[in-house]
């Protein structure tokens, strides 16, 4: 079995030559990042709000057990049943049990990254349930059994032409001669297919953008309205969310909501922001009869007492990946993890084993664009560096890299040895490279020279030249 890093490099290689993917990715900075910049410019207090949002999340994480208790108390009082799941297995077992008890056949789903994290669809399907994703992007990738490539735009890797191809392949009930003149035609067809599913579903599963402790409400933030139909029409509604989604109050929700859509898509607010508190009450005409909230830990509580805690501030806006030059070069699938991009590199080793995903922290230039746009100011490069430190301390990673680093450090920490040796090296390289000014090829530098020339040294070190100019000057 190849190592995780070898597999990663293989996927990266494939992604970089995937013409369709590159075409789809080329629009990310223009659309998502550009829209965020416009939304930020239109809100003078945007930067100040980021501090407030960070403080809300830090306070909540500081007292997480307390707010989870309050949430459970208030959700229960409203008639919901709260389940605690420490592992993905636990969460799946709880959800399977609820679906069986409801005698369900068809399960509709709103967009939920936590359901991806626990690979819920596969398990429900194996147990005999029909599962239909109702978010358009999720529906598109479900058609080909793909994972999301972005946390808010799961099908961002697809071009419009590819969407049309998938629809023609999957929706054989419609005439092949139909034409899709514009994206709206695709949306209309999806709506037609999904409408029937909404009406006949037995269980609806959604995620939650926030769990509000004060009221016991769960909040979903959507643009398509599919989440509302998923959670309101079936008899049973299951919310699946992780422990880091709880926040204290409705006022806090409003503050975070001022940042979430703006950071994500550049919208001032999304088309739908829905607060759900318990099942249908006496005298009410709509809403589910039963509401279950499954709250997943999956390693998060282990991060609370560590230098990784701030990763749990994340409100899943996706701005870090929209602004990441690595993500926009390789796309989400190349990461091979549920959460891609900078937040994925910072979070995934905490959720799975460090061995499987710590290499992702290495796939960053630490340019810091992610941290500079994060609405809750997660210091993502610092967190990635923390994982590099954990990997270094565990002695994993490349032996050659470690040995070279140690040798270089041993030398560079002895200036009296370092400077004369650099003089010799630079003289030799300078002599070799002077004629052309750059090397097309150099032993041990293949990683560099495969794609670019290596500029040749001028031939003498600065220290050497400077000491010559300073002779006679007292220092």
């Amino acid at each position: 079995m190849p190592s995780p890093i070898t597999l990663f490099k293989g996927r990266v290689g494939d992604a970089l030559i995937d013409v369709q993917l590159q075409l789809a990715l080329s629009e990310v900075p223009v659309n998502l990042a550009g829209n965020r910049a416009k939304a930020k410019a239109a809100l003078p207090e945007f930067e100040r709000l980021r501090d407030v949002a960070r403080d809300i999340k830090d306070h909540t994480l500081e007292h997480l057990d307390h707010y989870l208790d309050i949430y459970e108390e208030n959700a229960t009082a409203a008639g919901a049943i709260v389940h605690w799941a420490s592992t993905p297995e636990d969460a799946r077992a709880i959800i399977l049990d609820i679906c069986r008890t409801a005698n369900a056949r068809l399960v509709t789903k709103g967009k939920s990254m936590v359901s991806e994290e626990i690979h819920l669809n596969d398990h429900l399907e194996q147990a005999g349930f029909e599962v239909v994703e109702t978010d358009l992007g999720e529906y598109l990738i479900q058609l080909e059994h793909e994972a999301p490539s972005h946390i808010i735009a799961p099908a961002i890797h697809l071009t419009v032409a590819e969407v049309e191809r998938r629809f023609r392949k999957a929706h054989t009930q419609f005439p092949q001669s139909r034409v899709f003149n514009e994206p709206a035609d695709l949306v209309a067809e999806a709506r037609q297919v999904l409408r029937q599913k909404f009406l006949t579903a037995d269980v609806g599963i959604t995620g939650a953008n926030f769990l509000v402790a004060e009221t016991g409400s769960s909040v979903i933030v959507t643009n398509e309205g599919n989440g509302d139909l998923t959670q309101l029409l079936p008899k049973v509604h299951i919310v699946i969310a992780a422990i880091d989604k709880v926040i204290p109050t409705l006022a806090d929700t409003v503050t975070l909501m001022r940042l979430l859509p703006r950071s994500a898509t550049g919208q001032e607010t999304t088309a739908y922001v829905t607060f759900t508190t318990g099942p249908r009450r006496k005298g009410e005409h709509e809403g589910p009869e039963h509401v279950h909230v499954v709250i997943l830990d999956n390693g998060r509580s282990e991060l609370l007492g560590t230098n990784m805690r701030s990763v749990l501030r994340c409100i899943r806006c996706g701005a870090c990946m929209n602004h990441c030059p690595v993500y926009s070069a390789i796309g989400g699938h190349a990461y091979g993890t549920v959460y891609p991009g900078p937040i994925g590199a910072a979070l995934m080793p905490g959720l799975s084993s460090v061995k499987e995903t710590a290499h992702l922290a290495g796939a960053s230039t630490f340019c810091g664009a992610c941290a500079s746009v994060c609405p809750v100011k997660i210091p993502l490069p610092d967190l990635m560096r923390n994982w590099r430190e954990a990997e270094f301390q565990a002695g994993s990673g490349s032996v050659l890299a470690r040995t070279s680093l140690k040798a270089w450090a041993a030398l560079a920490l002895r200036p009296k040895l370092y400077h004369p040796l650099m003089r010799l090296t630079v003289a030799a390289l300078g002599a070799l490279g002077r004629r052309r000014g750059a090397f097309r090829w150099l032993p041990l530098a293949r990683g560099w020279t495969r794609y670019r020339d290596l500029p040749a040294p001028e031939g003498r070190t600065f220290q050497q030249l400077w000491s010559e100019t300073q002779k006679g000057v007292p220092r």
Binding site: I330, G368, R435, G437, D453, F462, L465
Partner: protein, 256 residues
């Protein structure tokens, strides 16, 4: 090392390992500019590298040794001036983190207060009003990531370039996007690094400038190496070379 009798503020030049070994011209250009801002320039020989390769590889203990070595080397300086935003960020921001809670914590803080990235030092700290350089042509400026995001280096290089007679700035699209260098990243993930530098050099080419400038030699070697491989006519230089009028060395990655 005894202090000289020079009454001017004593500015220690942190050369950076890349300038020291690959392009000493940048060091001399920086020294000339620091001197022009009214300081005495000294170059401690006990300096080597800022330690970033170790720090960013997760070897915190070794990085801490580099922090101690560097702080000691510049103990008698009023300023520490660095012709690189990346190394300056290491000295000013990360040394403090590395030594927090140790006996050297306050030394690291005192040191950090003395550290400046070169263009910020000249434009903001020393308020330089004229520069020796003159350049007849159009330049475009790449904002190196660490300088930009850790130290806020954005206006200083442009304000200084505006003082250069004959020079026109033509901004490129996404001038703040990473060039794909990232230190060891460039050799650990050459495929991704290449995709990034390809975008960067495409933007630089489209800007219409004939000279690509930046404040960090690492980024410049990456971009210049890519442009040279593509046989581009665009030249690359460190911003200090243009500001100081020290342009006798051939452009980066080009021949004499």
């Amino acid at each position: 090392m005894s202090r000289s009798a020079d009454p001017r503020p004593r500015a220690g030049l942190f050369v950076t390992c890349l300038v020291d070994t690959f392009r000493p011209s940048v060091g001399f250009a920086a020294a000339k500019l620091i001197e022009a801002s009214g300081c005495e320039v000294v170059v401690p020989v006990a300096q080597t590298c800022c330690g970033q390769p170790a720090y960013n590889s997760g070897d915190r203990a070794t990085a801490t040794q580099f922090a101690r070595q560097t702080i000691a080397a510049f103990a008698d300086c009023d300023y520490v001036v660095v012709p690189s935003g990346s190394c300056a960020g290491m000295l000013k921001v990360h040394f403090v983190e590395l030594l927090a809670g140790s006996s050297d914590q306050s030394a690291a803080q005192t040191f950090a207060a003395k550290v400046f990235e070169l263009t910020t030092f000249l434009a903001v700290e020393r308020k330089l009003q004229t520069v020796p350089g003159r350049y007849d042509g159009a330049v475009t400026y790449h904002d190196s990531c660490s300088g930009l995001r850790e130290l806020g280096v954005k206006d200083a290089p442009r304000d200084l370039l505006a003082l250069v007679e004959g020079l026109e700035i033509k901004e490129m699209t996404e001038c703040e996007t990473c060039c794909g260098f990232g230190g060891l990243f460039s050799v650990k993930y050459p495929d991704i690094s290449n995709a990034m530098v390809e975008k960067k050099t495409t933007h630089a080419t489209k800007s219409g400038a004939d000279l690509l400038l930046a404040g960090d030699l690492g980024c410049l070697m990456n971009m210049a190496g890519k442009l040279r491989r593509a046989n581009s006519t665009i030249d690359c230089r460190h911003v200090a070379e243009v500001l100081a009028g020290e342009m006798s060395a051939p452009p980066i990655a080009k021949r004499d």
